[in-house]
Amino acid sequence: MRRSITFRHAAACLALALSTHATLLRASGGDDFSENPFMPQFHVAAAELQAYAGGKLGIVMPSYWRVYQFLAYRALTGHPLAQGELAQLGVRGYSVGPAAGGYDYAYSEEKNGVGAWLAARASVRGAAAVKVGVDTDMGDYTMVVNCPADAFDRASKTLAQRIEQGGQQWAAVWLAAQDAVFANCSPQLPQMRGGGGAPVARPLTLPAAAPAKAPAWLLKDLAYQRAAAHFYAGRFDEARAGFTEIAADKASPWQPLGRYLAARALIRSAAAVPNAVLAPTDARVRERLTQARGEMTAIAPDYAPARRLISWIDVRLRPDERRRELSAALAVDVLGPASVQMLADYLVLMDKLEPSGLLAAADPMTAWIGAMQANAVEQVGRGDEAASAQRRLAALAGARAQWDKRHEAAWLVALLTNARKGDLKPAETKAAAAVKADSPAYVTLQYHLARLALADGRVKEADATVSALLDKPQPVSTRNRLLRLKMVSAAGADAALAAAARIPAEAGGEAAVAEGAKAAAAPQFDEDLRAHLEQHLPLALLVQLKPKLAASEQAATADLAWTRAVLLGQYAVADALTDEVARERATTRPLYARYKAAATPAAKREAALLILSNTPELTPHVNGAGADNAGAYWSCESRVSGDDGMDQAMPAFVTAAERAQVDKEATQLRALPKRSSYLIPLMIDWASRNKADPEAPKALHFLVASTRFECGAGAREAKPRNYSKEAFDFLHKQFPKSEWTAKTKYYY
């Protein structure tokens, strides 16, 4: 139930001084949702949406939510959206249309219409105050708005007419009847205990019988009000009978609404069937909806609300057919106000299909969306990799079959999206390369051609393709995605590092809010820069390239290189970085002076040991080699790898010899046990030889403290020992009067 987002911001890192990692933001709402602000995986950045819908797609990602796949399909098949069409849709995240009413709808008399109705009531002299609610309990832990705002609006207008028509005397009678109708909206029920599937019996309040000498119009209204009271009280058979009679009464002013409301009573009675949502195929539900659909169809030509309800019924009664109808219309039609609900329905109906069902759908747009999403990164959790791989292969085959049959750019996009190394046939590669730059498919296809060329080892070709794309204006998120490729494909380190700076595609995130406009102007970096620095560069190259990095990245890189250097015994390398590592660390600066004064490797090792013991954030950041050691070494933080694998790919500018050195150093570092198992025995040994040194109890204190919640990453130990306790015991025994001992109250 957690959401997280990784947001790397150089200025924020500087402010944190010692942090070398991205800021992990944790918000509410859970389900592990996260997005990369430089290239959102699931939605098109707001600033790019209009151009995207208009056909300037940039790179269409398989992980995009379906509404963005829909927009891409429209563009790829020659039906991009005009500005007005997109505005009408009101795209919001993964949905469309206006957001549901505010939290206060049910008790905001201004929003739910009750306030206006109560004001209208006041026009009848002597009208007693009443309390009116709008929602009622369904008995299954859900509530429905039983009496929406238009009911109160209609009542207000009718009351005004009746005052004019019959004067105060008869209007008062009318109002008393209407108060009875609305008393059924939100009746007081006994406290619920258990849904159980049994319908909740709601009390019924009926208007009083017509007084003697009541005018004809009042009699007609009372008939309508009695039917309405039954309707709101959930007595749908009686309501339906009443409205049916009204439909046959040509003298009733409500006659034109009679058939519609009788059908609505049927719909409500279907929704009220116990367990209706859990068992939509319930025969009673189907029977009532089928009948209601027939009745609505009869009046639909002349009544728009009836047409809307036919669609509402179809989504529930014949979802597959309705999805196909919606798909066919939405794929090509000019979008208008009615399209919002159509698209909302279409998205909901797609949600009811399994991925294989999407892919196998008979309607091309649904099948295309299924093909595009077949191997998308999971929005939530890790997902089932084997199933995802199978879906990809099925999608690859499906897209290929469609491409072979139709030769439509949309299917070529789906084909390349699902292709991996060696999957594409030469003719397919040729076809993708031949797509012209003005096609909405162009950037996506070129991106995948570059990605596949990189995977095949055709690095120069990939780099040329990426560079050509970067030479042209691109949406920010597309540019960022291309820059991730460029960091890997660039032949030289300078070009690769130049590709590291990014602009967020979307503002947001805690760091950005905190840092404000000043931060927005600072260079920013995605995770791939740090991933390359930590995983793909040997120590010597890391040091060599450090001066070329942005200022914000230098401190973290100096820490990384210094730590690795002392752990690898390359003290000459560490020496050159010591002043920089010490610069922002006032409290431990004397330890760095001690290190600098050390003349021999053994002395440097011991001085470095003190620094490492006092400074837990100094870690070598070596990724683990296996499942047991998956996090960064000496810490359990793991980097978000992005959805393209680029931060795991070795940059082209790293030579074969340097790659060998990377492996060698990583092997050496991975051989170290976890931090406490490495440092504590060494520190106990050193402290036992240097008992008079005040740094000894201090270092032991910090080491014990750092074992709390220590990550277990490190080489497997044959006989793991509780070094936290050993250090604690040693400290208390050897330094009983030290202030640091007094501060060390627990071991872990």
Binding site: E35, A100, D135, T142, V145, A151, L257, V513
Partner: protein, 254 residues
């Protein structure tokens, strides 16, 4: 008059709230006894149709009654849209889930505070539960808001209604900051722990649960993650899919 539009599902909202016996702060005797009456195992019923009529009486259900989405300065209500079926003897408690927008971080203004309070009070009033739960995983900068919100809730809920609040597992571990949280029960969620997963699982295995007094009474776990046990704690169990009896058997102790 009869509406022309279709019915809209919406959670009931309170016109008035519990005014009797309001007690500031957590840990009243009445609230404690409400919690004591709650089963030791509670299934979280998330926003999906759930038919839990098969659930044995020794387990209860904590169902999402509504989600309040905080977007910029707005609070948007997403009431429960799916039925929950339980037997009449099943203990149920409503959960109000708060979803803070990433795209438009919430301003955490008074209206948003009021919206959450209104939902919690309505949930407590509506079905007469003895316990209500708030699920709001805040960022560091949002913690003062949560502290104030929970304190206000505790003051305004009837004293006999216990206030349960979920917590990130890290809040009960190294990032402990919830000592002043005025909840009667805190439910650290030992699942979906991302980078903290290894460390916290190691801790829980070594200590048999969280050791902070405020974190010992309850534990949240998930059906799709490795088992986590905590001695004596009430277990709240999350399922990413609708519950069925197989999932229920799966989470039974070996």
């Amino acid at each position: 008059m009869v509406p022309v539009g279709a019915a809209v599902r919406l959670l009931a909202l309170a016109g008035s709230v519990g005014r009797s016996g309001n007690v500031a702060g957590a840990g009243t005797r009445a609230a404690a006894s409400a919690l004591a009456a709650l089963p030791a195992t509670m299934l979280w019923a998330w926003e999906r149709p759930e038919d839990l009529r098969w659930l044995p009486p020794e387990a209860g259900v904590a169902y999402v009654a509504a989600t309040v989405e905080l977007v910029g300065g707005e609070a948007r209500l997403r009431p429960r849209g799916f039925p929950l079926l339980v037997r009449a003897d099943t203990a149920v408690l409503p959960v109000i889930h708060i979803d803070a927008s990433m795209r438009e971080p919430p301003l955490l203004n008074a209206a948003q505070h009021a919206a959450i309070v209104a939902q919690m009070l309505a949930a407590a009033r509506r079905s007469g539960p003895q316990v209500v739960q708030l699920d709001f995983e805040v960022r560091a900068s949002q913690r003062p808001f949560l502290l104030a919100l929970v304190a206000d809730l505790r003051r305004r809920l009837p004293s006999g209604v216990a206030l349960s609040v979920t917590a990130l597992a890290s809040w009960c571990a190294g990032d402990y900051w919830i000592d002043a949280l005025a909840a009667d029960e805190i439910v650290p969620m030992a699942f979906r722990m991302a980078r903290d997963d290894g460390a916290i699982r190691t801790l829980l295995a070594a200590q048999g649960g969280f050791t902070r007094p405020r974190c010992r009474a309850a534990l949240g776990v998930a059906t799709d993650e490795a088992r986590v046990d905590a001695h004596g704690a009430r277990r709240y169990i999350f399922s990413p899919r609708a519950w069925d009896q197989a999932a229920w058997r799966h989470v039974q102790p070996p």
